[in-house]
């Protein structure tokens, strides 16, 4: 007798698993769709001015309602999000500039430099910092970092401002772009370190040993063998960190200074970000009788999503570009290696 095939189970299970697998994609598409539809009225009112104008005004919520291009809005309403966009991009990009080199070195150290108990301890510590609630880091920023910038760092840095444009004053308070950048850097460094460390630990020992056998120093093995081996994973780590920096709300809200309607002109200028603004404006938006303020916030959220996707794509492009560059430079580099080999054998 033929054994009964277990087809039905397999079919049902694959249906279930398939559904589960597509769910994240479906959900993010649904989210994007809902945001896009909800943002339409605000985009109709503002057009491109939504991202090019510097005045964000919910209008007089206690005044009369007017109509702009057939859409009812509170009198005086104007949704120009440029300061939020600039604040988000500057703070997150500068944070990455600080975080990526630090995280790379920290990951190399914990993956290869430490052994046994020390390695485990470092890993636990880094994961601990990565998991710290942002409000805790924000509070540290407010109580420690902001006074430090105002009283100690700024007086030194502003002297360099004579030669470096973004470093000149006036330093009105410690809150602003620099504080936001450093707090974000602190938050994303462990995220990138942790991811990168896992990747580096997975580089096969044979490949590394081959590098040593070829006479490379341990730093050269890391630079020429290990880091290239995990290149695509590094992109993911950097994109993950950048995404977190862009979306971070609470800590930036606490140390960024919440500038209104004004673009930063120095490293010490107060800023506001897209994410922080959505959080801050929601309460007022709920009292807009025309509901337009909520549409404007949806438009902000949509912009935030577009920026996240954009930076993730950008980091991929950058690494692909550098990969091509490396490949092009590969052959002379190989020749560069040989003298080392002879010297090591000598």
């Amino acid at each position: 007798m033929k054994p009964v095939p277990k087809r039905p189970w397999v079919g049902a299970a694959s249906l279930l698993l398939g559904g589960a697998a597509t769910l994240p994609v479906l959900l993010s598409l649904l989210l994007l769709g809902v945001l896009a539809v909800d943002a339409v009225p605000a985009v109709r009112v503002m057009g491109w001015h939504l991202v090019t104008d510097s005045t964000w005004d919910l209008g007089n919520l206690y005044g009369a309602t007017t109509h702009v291009r057939g859409v009812p809005v509170p009198t005086g309403a104007h949704y120009g999000a440029l300061p939020f966009l600039v604040g988000t991009l500057w703070s997150s990009a500068l944070a990455m500039l600080v975080a990526v080199p630090v995280a790379t070195r920290a990951a190399i150290l914990t993956a290869y430099g430490l052994r046994g108990r020390w390695q485990r301890m470092a890993a636990v510590l880094i994961d601990l910092i990565a998991g710290l609630p942002s409000v805790v880091i924000g509070l540290w920023g407010l109580l420690v970092l902001v006074p430090f910038i105002q009283n100690t760092a700024a007086p030194v840095l502003t002297r360099l401002g004579r030669w470096i444009p973004w470093l000149d004053g006036p330093v009105t308070s410690g809150m602003g772009l620099l504080a936001a950048t450093l707090v974000l850097a602190l938050m994303v460094t462990p995220v990138i370190t942790s991811t990168l460390r896992e990747l580096l630990a997975q580089v096969p020992a044979e490949i590394r040993e081959a590098g040593f056998a070829a006479g490379l120093t341990s730093w050269e093995v890391v630079r020429l063998v290990c880091l290239p081996a995990v290149r695509s994973g590094r992109v993911g780590a950097v994109a993950l960190g950048w995404g977190r920096a862009i979306g971070e709300t609470m800590a930036v809200l606490m140390v960024g200074g919440n500038a209104a309607n004004v673009l930063p002109t120095t490293l010490f200028s107060p800023i506001s970000t897209v994410a922080a603004s959505v959080a801050e404006q929601l309460d007022a938006a709920l009292t807009d009788p025309t509901g337009m303020a909520l549409h404007a916030l949806s438009a902000l959220a949509l912009v935030l999503m577009v920026i996240s996707v954009g930076t993730s794509t950008l980091s991929r492009l950058l690494v692909r570009r550098s990969a091509q560059f490396r490949h092009a430079a590969q052959s002379p580099e190989d020749e560069e290696v040989s003298p080392w080999t002879s010297r090591a054998s000598a």
Partner: protein, 376 residues
């Protein structure tokens, strides 16, 4: 189960069952618990247990959560009160949506909102005020700067940039002010305090009224270096940490601000007098507004012609939907009546810790008239 699934065509059924599993589960679940739920509902209804949820203003939250809820537990055991500090705007939105029974707000509903939701009531519960606080290095502890609306407007517009500006020194000829940059601090979140402060500026400065106007969240003038802070706690913290700063703070935060070394201003009232936010001056201002309060009690008490009155005074509102189920309406009326009674919930033992004042008698009766509309 396995037996039935051996039949090939049952695969489809199996898949369908899995697909609608959640739905089927819900259906049967509600069937079985439905019976239990009914009996439970009946029994609780016979006891008369009702939950009144409050959400909104962070200024009212300490009064609700720390004072009224413990006190009311002994007044009416059948009612469970809950409180939530979510901000006035959220409180209003939740009350309109029926998610809470009481929305707490420092500001009344706008005309536009009242047209959309005509069954909403704005019931004053207590009188509150707001002071202007500053961190000016070298100023004596007992020195209160004299400030008026146009000067404050000019500071927030970035036109007056230093503490020794002529507009400030002419108001304070006896005070030696430093050549220190002024850093205006505003609320970054939506706030009844912003509503009150911008109303004072709008009432006293025509240019501010046309350019910025007033609201729980306004579009602040672009001033390089100006700061925003979240909540009254955030403003006090920012002021304390930033020399040269100035900001507006709700009266229940006055003590914390003074403890952190901040000064607070004597503000120019409608009659040209400079007044501090004392209980006496707040009472005088509220008393001046009594005759003007309409039946729906939506009114600004800012800058009224009151002799010796402090100019930034307001009602703290309960935003309530008059359309309620009978048992909720009864409990809500009883609680609100208790809350505005100066012999009971409106007594100084509850209000003084947060620097609030009880409603004047004429206002109490107007609030009572509104309370009686609930459930009708």
């Amino acid at each position: 189960m396995t037996h039935t699934l051996r039949h090939g065509r049952m695969a489809l059924v199996g898949a369908a069952m899995l697909a609608v599993g959640a739905l089927a589960g819900c259906g049967s679940g509600s069937d079985t618990t439905g019976g239990n739920g009914n009996t439970a509902g009946n029994s609780t209804a016979s006891i008369g247990a009702v939950t009144l949820a409050e959400s909104g203003s962070s200024l009212l939250y300490p009064l609700f959560n720390n004072e009224w809820i413990p006190a009311y537990a002994s007044v009416d055991k059948s009612v469970t009160l809950t409180a939530e500090s979510s901000g006035s705007g959220t409180g209003i939105a939740k009350a309109i949506a029926g998610q809470v029974q009481i929305g707490a707000s420092d500001a009344y509903l706008s005309d536009g909102q009242m047209q959309q939701h005509p069954t909403m009531l704005n019931i004053p519960l207590a009188v509150s005020a707001q002071q202007v606080m500053y961190n000016v290095p070298g100023l004596g502890k007992n020195v209160h700067l004299k400030l008026d609306g146009p000067t404050l407007a000019a500071i927030y517009e970035g036109k007056v940039q230093y503490w020794d500006d002529a507009s400030i020194t002419t108001l304070n000829p006896d005070v030696k002010l430093p050549h220190q940059r002024i850093i205006p601090v505003h609320r970054s979140d939506s706030s009844g305090d912003t509503f009150l402060f911008t109303q004072y500026l709008s009432d006293t400065d025509a240019a501010w009224k046309t350019s910025i106007a007033y609201g729980t969240s306004v579009s602040w003038p672009a001033v390089q270096g100006a700061l925003g802070a979240k909540g009254n706690s955030g403003v006090v913290q920012t002021l304390a940490a930033t020399p040269g700063s100035i900001g507006y703070v709700g009266i229940s935060w006055l003590d914390q601000g003074v403890q952190q070394g901040l000064g607070y201003a004597a503000l120019k009232n409608h009659n040209g007098q400079f007044e501090l936010p004392t209980a006496d001056a707040i009472q005088k201002e509220a008393a001046a507004g009594v005759n003007q309060v309409p039946d729906d009690e939506r009114i600004s008490l800012i800058n009224l012609p009151a002799d010796g009155g402090y100019p930034i005074v307001n009602f703290e509102y309960a935003i309530v939907n008059s359309q309620q189920p009978a048992d909720v309406a009864t409990a809500l009326k009883k609680f609100l009546t208790w809350a505005i009674d100066p012999q009971q919930g409106g007594g100084s033992q509850y209000l003084t810790p947060v620097h609030f004042l009880p409603l004047p008698a004429a206002i109490q009766s107007k609030s009572q008239a509104q309370i009686s509309k609930i459930g009708q």
